[in-house]
Symmetry: C2
Subunit: 334 residues, 2 copies
Amino acid sequence: MTEFRRDPIVGRWVIVTSEEPLDVDQFHQLYPPVEKRHPEKCFFCPGKESATPPEVYAYRPNGGEANGPGWQVRVVPNKFPALVIEGDLESRPIGLYDIANGIGAHEVVIETPDHFKTLADLSFEEVFEVIKAYRSRMNDLSQDPRFEYILIFKNFGAIAGASIEHDHSQLIAMPLIPKNVKEELEGSKAYYEYRERCIFCDMWRQEKEERERVVYENPFFITFCPFSSRFPFEMWIMPKYHCCDFREMSDDQAMELAKALKDALIRLKLLLHNPPYNFVIHVAPLKGMYDYYHWHVEIMPRISRVAGFEWGSGFYVVPTTPELGAKRLRDVIW
Amino acid sequence: MTEFRRDPIVGRWVIVTSEEPLDVDQFHQLYPPVEKRHPEKCFFCPGKESATPPEVYAYRPNGGEANGPGWQVRVVPNKFPALVIEGDLESRPIGLYDIANGIGAHEVVIETPDHFKTLADLSFEEVFEVIKAYRSRMNDLSQDPRFEYILIFKNFGAIAGASIEHDHSQLIAMPLIPKNVKEELEGSKAYYEYRERCIFCDMWRQEKEERERVVYENPFFITFCPFSSRFPFEMWIMPKYHCCDFREMSDDQAMELAKALKDALIRLKLLLHNPPYNFVIHVAPLKGMYDYYHWHVEIMPRISRVAGFEWGSGFYVVPTTPELGAKRLRDVIW
């Protein structure tokens, strides 16, 4: 079985080449499971608070001093930031090219004080606090009129780009809109103008009806392997209510997102031996009206080196179908 | 130093975060050098010709039977193809989604009979024969009216997606146009309509004038690290004559491309200890007029795991400037 599948939002084609039945073990040799080895050197552990820049957010359920132990979630500026917070944005041409100074914010969300726990191991309530930290930092940073977009993402494992093994996610506030976000906005706007409906709402409704690619569902969220997945076992978590703005999420909704996220990550961990992964929270830009957009989370396991040539070509070959992937993920008992 | 840089063709922003001076050794710990270890199991070595599908092209300077030894370059269909050559293209919707059967051709260009040599180690004349093989296969496959695009790329090293260690490149002929190609076409068309000039021609002329990012130049080609590189030591090889169609390259031009390609790869090998890399030949689609486009080669070293979060976000953070990268590449003596 080999076929082309087209993503309806951005028009990306992928080649799906799976043969049934899916042998999950074939993937295991492609990557080492993520391990936690060096607590002694870790600056994200409790007691080392002074080794990071001063915190900008913390959740201390039992109280305690700022920048001391006792926190459950802690957000600090990145010590080696990709962007710097000071200054005004200046953009200028160099012949054909454009250049702008690197204004922005780059923060690290330390998700747990426990060096050996992963986000997948946390309780619903603990993941809920991580999501509340995201929401709070987005709300705060979006007050800065220089910023156009806030990107929240997690790199889990060195293969996925994590340079520090203590579980954390990252937040980058920037004065421009990334190209991939623009593409999603354009695609969903075109659909909205043509059909007068949200493409993401239509997508999750179709997934719910077909069931084949659904992994999990709760009152506010649905998790599925997208029809035109770029990666084996890719999952999207989508709100079942129409909203473009992550910041508007209520506490009730945030708790259901915590359940969906924990569920997706623990299934991935158990099925694939703690594989490296990335997730990215796709949200609307900070300024302007994006009624046609719908925020969601994309989880991308980094288990298939085989698919090397999409770099630079933008063309993905996926060695398993999302239908088989979803089935295997659904079958995980935890 | 941290700054945003914008690619003028597709509008992609990257963050460049380098501090001078560039310490090349910092990269070495991020990837293992590519090694050749298992000639005994190799189906691409001479004498094993019957283990591959029958050849569709070969260069045998001293004669010899088809599908026997004596070849210098050999092209065979991929034994595990992403696409199959038989059948008519059928496309249909599934609700929101589109699906098409996997019609296409997937071929492997075995670049040398020597298991232990890399493309970088070959002579100009040997690389020239590889390029002639690309051109010949493109010419042949473009006769098939079902195909819209031919993608030629090389994965070097397991990290870059190579599943077989004997040096080879790949060719995929497909019935659709990849998204990234469409984006380049749209960007260069918009520029052409606005300025009545080719953006790629303007780009290489600016590079030639600025010199800072240029690595190599010969009568027909120029190699430079692009202004908005996504990867450390990324290089583009661009014809200095305006042409969208790789197939129209003369033998004289192909020989100069061979020199440019060999030069780029040997510099990469010597500077970075035989790193994994991908290259992709960007060409116009097979059907239609693309006068505003300009074919070129993009070489992407796969040495920086650090930059994990561009997956899914499309937003690149590059830990070195192309100016410093080009300087180090220029300084390599071979």
